[in-house]
């Protein structure tokens, strides 16, 4: 009774079902076997390419693509080609969880990089832990790696950033701080860290305001910060929000000094904040002040080589976020080269990384410390005439 178009449709559907069933079987079988020792090595990345984290995720994507291309041109890892699969989580937690699930089950990646921001990274962590696949986050909040077994990270911990700010505030004799922080994962727990690290210096946070990572109007937060009358204030966010907050801070005539976090290390921040950025103080990775580093700085060579390659490819200098992606990629490649594609072996290799000189700092990991960076890996930077400038200590 079936007319021919229908019959064709039924046939096609049946064929499709069979093929899908075949795939599923293959996947199920693959899970039990030992990792393959031939064919391409697969690195998966989940980045905040669209949405509030775009100014982080885009340069990170560009960096990974550049590095993968260079690596393959040089023969890959032990002759095996590196296949890079990048997923966009649209700066959302659920997008990140979906993306990492896809990378693990469909693409069967060997190691995972990302996400760009704390919230999505936290959403990925339990998936990586239960799948027992090494994951290297590019985000800041220490909670991403606290007590983790399979998760590592390359951005400096928020706690080491806060150590730098508190030390500077203590030097200058400030005792009260006002805080305007990102309302997402990046800003979670920041107030508590300031209070606990500041305790021995008698420094505490007296007012906290929060803003959505995609907020555009900061009048309300800054009015309240102004009224709190702290000795100094901190804006804790990522561009462009951190830049708009900086503009509102100056526009409302708040005259006490302002600190920013290490989340601002890119051109988008400088463009958004404009003249309002002059005079702020922020602990940042050495990358943004690479021209001003002394020649004996141990990171100078790595940073300069990366920055030159990036600039040659994309026509603009890399941001600190690009640096986090560089370190994540290099650590992943080292782990793959030294330990092969066995998850457990890679995990153990990463835990044993000692004195790896990267762009974001010099990494020394351990079983208890999956971040590997200290307060020494940041330098205090200010902005003068629209450029990051190293503060001589």
């Amino acid at each position: 009774m079936l007319r021919s178009p229908h019959r064709k449709a039924v046939l096609a559907l049946t064929a499709a079902t069979l093929i899908l069933a075949g795939c599923a079987e293959e996947q199920g079988g693959g899970d039990e076997g030992t990792p393959e020792e031939t064919g391409p090595v697969v690195i998966g990345a989940v980045l905040d390419i669209t949405g509030a984290g775009a100014s982080l995720g885009v340069p990170e994507r560009d960096t990974l693509e550049l590095l993968a291309e260079q690596l393959n041109a040089d023969g890959g890892i032990d002759g095996r080609e590196v296949e890079l699969i990048i997923e966009d989580n649209a700066s959302t937690e659920d997008g990140a969880a979906r993306a990492i699930n896809k990378l693990i089950t469909e693409d069967q990646v060997d190691i995972i990089l990302g996400a760009s921001r704390t919230g999505p990274s936290l959403a990925m962590r339990p998936v990586a832990e239960s799948a027992e696949i090494p994951m290297i986050s590019l985000a800041a909040n220490q909670a991403i790696v606290d007590g983790s077994e399979w998760v590592f990270k390359t951005a400096q911990n928020d706690s080491v950033v806060i150590e730098n700010i508190v030390a500077d505030a203590a030097d200058k004799g400030y005792s009260t701080l006002g805080l305007a922080r990102d309302a997402s994962g990046f800003g979670e727990g920041v107030e508590e860290l300031f209070n606990s690290i500041g305790e021995e210096f008698g420094i505490s946070v007296i007012a906290t305001e929060s803003f959505a990572p995609d907020a555009t109007d900061f009048t309300a937060q800054m009015v309240n910060i102004r009224d709190a009358g702290a000795d100094a204030n901190i804006i804790w966010g990522i561009p462009p929000a951190a830049g708009l907050a900086q503009v509102a801070y100056r526009q409302l005539g708040i005259e006490v000094p302002v600190y920013q976090s290490h989340g601002i290390g890119n051109q988008v921040f400088l463009d958004t904040a404009g003249a309002a950025a002059d005079g702020l103080v922020a602990p940042l990775g050495r990358l943004v002040v690479r021209d001003q580093l002394p020649d004996d700085d141990p990171q100078k060579e790595v940073i300069t080589a990366f920055a030159d390659a990036y600039e040659a490819e994309y026509g603009a200098g890399p941001s600190t976020f690009a640096g986090h992606a560089y370190d994540g990629f290099q650590l992943a490649v080292q782990a793959l080269a030294e330990a092969g594609t066995d998850g457990q072996a890679m995990r153990e290799y990463l835990e044993g990384v000692t004195d790896y000189v990267g762009v974001s700092g010099t990494f020394t990991m351990s079983a208890d410390d999956h971040s590997g960076l200290t307060a020494e890996d940041l330098v205090l930077v200010t902005v003068e005439n629209g450029e990051f400038t190293l503060i001589e200590s």
């Binding site: 100014s55 959505a212 555009t216 009015v223 958004t272």
Partner: protein, 289 residues
């Protein structure tokens, strides 16, 4: 007290942007009972086109003009391609159709302009402080231009033959057709006006709140809520609704919690739709434009 006025100034400036978007909603709905969910995209597109035109070396006023014209063309083409061919247009159909167009426009903008947010340079003038309240020159530009544009739109609908013809379509579609007014042409014209209104909003907001491929979503939602305050049919009420919503948001963010800012619009929407579906400013749901 200066805090209060500071928040009000920020709220008025933001509210004026909502008002422009809201007028766009009302301009179309009052003529054709179409709800155009791509209204916010007009704003985002204007900002992005102006940014790339300015980036290509055009002076700012020319770049803005290019953006206005491009968005007006997009709005008219959108109406010709997706609205005009539909024989029996209902409000529900229009919502589904324009949601599709809005998604397509967003995807297009993401492909062409990339995901990063950028801002146009502010219009000339320097910021100043009055009685402890800091005012940006851009705030004055936004408020001034919004009021002039609103005046022009109201004048057009109330005092010109063409505007009266549009109102006739809105109030008596059959009678309007009998006296020779084409509802189809009227709808095209309404989309042109809405496109221009959206574009002005996008160009004015860009220096303060930046533009990216998806900034139209929030603007569109807030503008829609502002328009419902006037029952979606009154230009004057849309302007009032926008300003009111902006100020309310700023005050809630300042005095309660900034986390509630975006909830304000939706609470307002629910209250209005339950209590006064015809709009809070109009005595009767029938009064249009």
């Amino acid at each position: 007290m200066s805090d209060f006025f500071q928040l009000v100034v920020a709220g008025l400036s933001q509210g004026a942007i909502y008002a422009l978007i809201a007028m766009g909603f009302a301009a179309i709905f009052s003529v054709s009972e179409i709800i155009n969910l791509a209204q916010g995209e007009f704003a985002a597109m204007a900002g992005l086109v102006a940014l790339s035109a300015a980036g290509a070396g055009l002076p700012l006023p020319v770049a803005m003009l290019v953006a206005l014209v491009s968005v007006a063309i997009v709005a008219v083409v959108m109406q010709r391609l997706t609205i005009a061919p539909v024989k029996k247009m209902t409000t529900l159909t229009s919502i589904i159709l324009t949601l599709g167009v809005s998604t397509a426009l967003k995807a297009l903008m993401l492909l062409i302009y990339g995901p990063e947010a950028r801002g146009l340079p502010a219009l000339p003038g320097s910021n100043f402080v009055v009685a402890g309240v800091s005012v940006r020159a851009q705030d004055l530009w936004i408020l001034g231009i919004t009021l002039v544009v609103a005046g022009a739109v109201v004048f057009f609908y109330d005092r010109t033959v063409l505007g009266k013809a549009l109102r006739a379509c809105a109030e008596q579609p059959v009678a309007a057709r009998l006296v020779g007014i084409s509802p189809r042409k009227a709808t095209t014209l309404a989309f042109l006006i809405a496109g221009l209104l959206g574009a002005v909003a996008g160009l004015l907001a860009s220096p303060i709140s930046l533009t990216q491929w998806d900034s139209g979503l929030t603007l569109g939602l807030k503008g829609f809520v502002a328009a419902t305050l006037g029952g979606l049919v009154s230009i004057r009420a849309a302007v009032l609704g926008g300003l009111l919503l902006g100020v309310l948001e700023a005050l809630v963010a300042g005095y309660i919690d900034s986390g509630f800012r975006d909830a304000v619009a939706f609470v307002v929407l629910i209250v209005v739709l339950v209590a006064r579906p015809g709009g809070v400013f109009s005595r009767q749901a029938q009064a249009r434009v």
